[in-house]
């Protein structure tokens, strides 16, 4: 089913050349947003000619985490919605596009989780990051799986168990974000530029091998690398590189 951007209630979606921009217009994560963002992922992979996706918020706020309106104290416990959210995060993490997150305002809980599954994160100087879930009595999703890979286990324990509000200087120092920029528009353009031609096959294979580097031993990882490399060097993009290297027109 084709995506109808006008029908979206929690997002704005726009394409400009090779860049798609997804704007979260709803500062809280609810099942509507999960559903719509999943639809956008379908569109991006199935129909969109873009190569890069910029994920950002509206009105100076990226995302402030879960909306408890979907959960009621008088209803039975339900894990299903959390599973949907994790499927969405894994989907974004493996998307056949380069993904960039623009972090503004207080980025909380699920907003941080979402940022961690993108390829590049740009942060406004006044923005903050906080995984506040444990203070509220629940868990910060699979950030428990991903966070330590960015910052090491010691920092991850502090960030998850004590829920500190992390400013942009510290976020940059910890490696949670790649850049702190007052002029976000210029920074986004520069980041898009920095991915160069964004060969989707090479990017997604390299990203998968990196993500799996904490998961497999060297022998398994070597087998995976050789399989992935064989695929990469069989693509038209690499053939073009070889033709250029040999001084012929691609």
């Amino acid at each position: 089913m084709a995506l109808d951007p006008k029908r979206l209630q929690t997002l704005r979606y726009a394409e400009d050349g090779t860049v798609a921009t997804v704007t979260l217009t709803h500062p809280r994560i609810d099942m509507r947003l999960v559903r719509e963002l999943t639809e956008v992922c379908d569109h991006l992979e199935d129909e969109s000619p873009t190569r890069v996706v910029v994920l950002r918020g509206a009105g100076g706020v990226f995302c402030q985490g879960i909306d408890f309106a979907d959960f009621r104290p008088d209803e039975p416990v339900d894990i299903h919605g959390f599973n949907k959210w994790e499927k969405l995060c894994a989907r974004v993490e493996r998307l056949q596009k380069v993904t960039i997150a623009v972090l503004e305002g207080p980025v909380v809980g699920g907003g941080v989780q979402l940022a961690l599954v993108t390829d590049a994160r740009i942060m406004a100087p006044g923005a903050t990051l906080q995984l506040n879930e444990v203070h509220l009595g629940f868990l910060p999703g699979m950030a428990t799986f991903r966070l330590a890979k960015y910052v090491g286990l010691g920092h991850a324990r502090r960030l998850v168990l004590r829920c500190p509000v992390v400013g942009s200087d510290e976020a940059l120092r910890l490696g949670l974000v790649d850049e702190v920029a007052a002029d976000l528009e210029t920074a986004v353009a520069r980041t898009v530029e920095s991915f160069g031609p964004a060969h989707v096959v090479a990017v997604t294979l390299a990203r998968r091998l990196l993500d799996e580097s904490y998961q497999f031993g060297f022998e398994d990882a070597l087998g995976h690398f050789l399989a992935a490399q064989h695929r990469a060097i069989s693509q038209a993009e690499f053939l073009a590189t070889l033709r250029r290297a040999h001084g012929r027109e691609a």
């Binding site: 199935d46 294979l205 998968r208 995976h224 050789l226 399989a227 992935a228 064989h230 695929r231």
Partner: protein, 350 residues
């Protein structure tokens, strides 16, 4: 037209299991390259029917003895797998109306179907087809006409039997090529009951929705059976890069199959991929874009039994069912790879 369902599956293997180390010791393999291939195979053990060795540690079988071994064990393994498949279905061999048998590990004339009818209680008017010499992919090449027969004959029972006695392919000459082959293949047989019911009651068995094939003519001789004059035996030759070449093409039939049904890779819950070897499984993972978890049964069957040839994907299917995690409405893809070179696929829905 009714859909055909896979209603039951049964498997068998010879009684004796050998670790890679035990095989190296038994045949006193000293070539370090061959020893390394055995040890890096990601196979813990295999069920085999191994011959005794002479004083130098070499197996002593002639081609004639290998063919006799194939015939003897094909009967025994077939009997067990067919019995286990039909057990609990309320059916016996005499209820089977169409028998389709697959093997590539020993040439027989008459074929397996005639031998099974003679010895295992099938009716003499049972329709039959022998799919011979098509290699590891042949299970799906045979499932395709079996499903077509079942759909054309609603309510009647078709049985697919994939029986490979890879021990009957043993050539021992201390080269790396035979070393690779001897390190990889195991013996096993799988049987599957297929039927299309006229009043198809909802039952928890997958419908087979369609097939898609992809031949790679450029890799025609990448996996090939040749006569080894010096040894007086058939010898299976595997080209070095064929696992990656197969992997590289694997997404072509998968995409065609899924698109035809309006599906994407992300819609598939279960992958039943032939346990061809570690490299080809890796190549498929990174080309089709599926995870180590998706191919857990493929790598599990490889680890526990080696490459079982044409019935291998049915061993993975049996392990998937044993997990009891399949839900109604789930889609599954079966995929087999082999000589041709070819990638064969089938789409299932529970």
């Amino acid at each position: 037209m009714e859909s055909a369902r896979i209603l039951a599956v049964g498997t068998s293997h010879p009684p004796d299991r050998y670790t890679q180390q035990e095989i190296l010791e038994r045949f006193r393999v000293v070539n370090p390259a061959v020893r390394e291939v055995f040890q890096a195979s990601h196979i813990d053990g295999r069920y085999l029917v191994l011959p005794t060795a002479d004083e130098s540690g070499r197996p002593t079988e002639t081609q004639g003895e290998l063919l006799a071994k194939h015939r003897r064990w094909a009967l025994r393994l077939g009997q067990q797998a067919i019995g286990r498949c039909l057990e609990g279905t309320g059916l016996g061999a005499s209820d089977i109306d169409c028998l389709c048998c697959v093997t590539s590990t020993g040439f027989m004339l008459p074929g397996l179907t005639a031998m099974y009818i003679k010895h295992l209680g099938f009716r003499v008017d049972c329709h039959r087809a022998d799919v011979v010499g098509m290699g590891c992919n042949a299970g799906l090449n045979a499932l395709n006409p079996t499903v077509a027969w079942a759909r054309a004959n609603p309510g009647r029972n078709a049985l697919l039997v994939c029986c490979e006695v890879n021990s009957a392919l043993y050539v021992y000459d201390d080269t790396l090529n035979t070393g690779v082959v001897n390190s990889l293949f195991g013996d096993g047989c799988a049987a599957a009951l297929v039927r299309a019911d006229p009043l198809d009651e909802p039952r928890f068995a997958p419908r087979v929705l369609g097939f898609e094939s992809h031949l790679i003519p450029d890799a025609w001789d990448a996996m090939i059976y040749v006569w080894d004059e010096a040894q007086g035996k058939f010898s299976f030759q595997l080209a070095r890069d064929v696992p990656y070449v197969l992997g590289l093409h694997a997404d072509i039939p998968v995409d065609a199959l899924l698109r035809r049904h309006g599906l994407r890779v992300r819609d598939i819950s279960h992958w039943l991929v032939h346990s061809g070897g570690k490299k080809v499984i890796d190549a498929i993972k990174y080309t089709v874009g599926i995870t180590a978890h998706d191919v857990r049964h493929t790598t599990g069957v490889l680890r526990d039994m080696g490459n079982l040839g044409s019935g291998s994907f049915l061993f993975s299917y049996q392990r998937l069912l044993a997990e009891r995690g399949v839900r109604r409405g789930d889609y599954g893809v079966m995929m087999t790879m082999g000589p041709g070179s070819t990638v064969e696929t089938a789409l299932l829905r529970w």
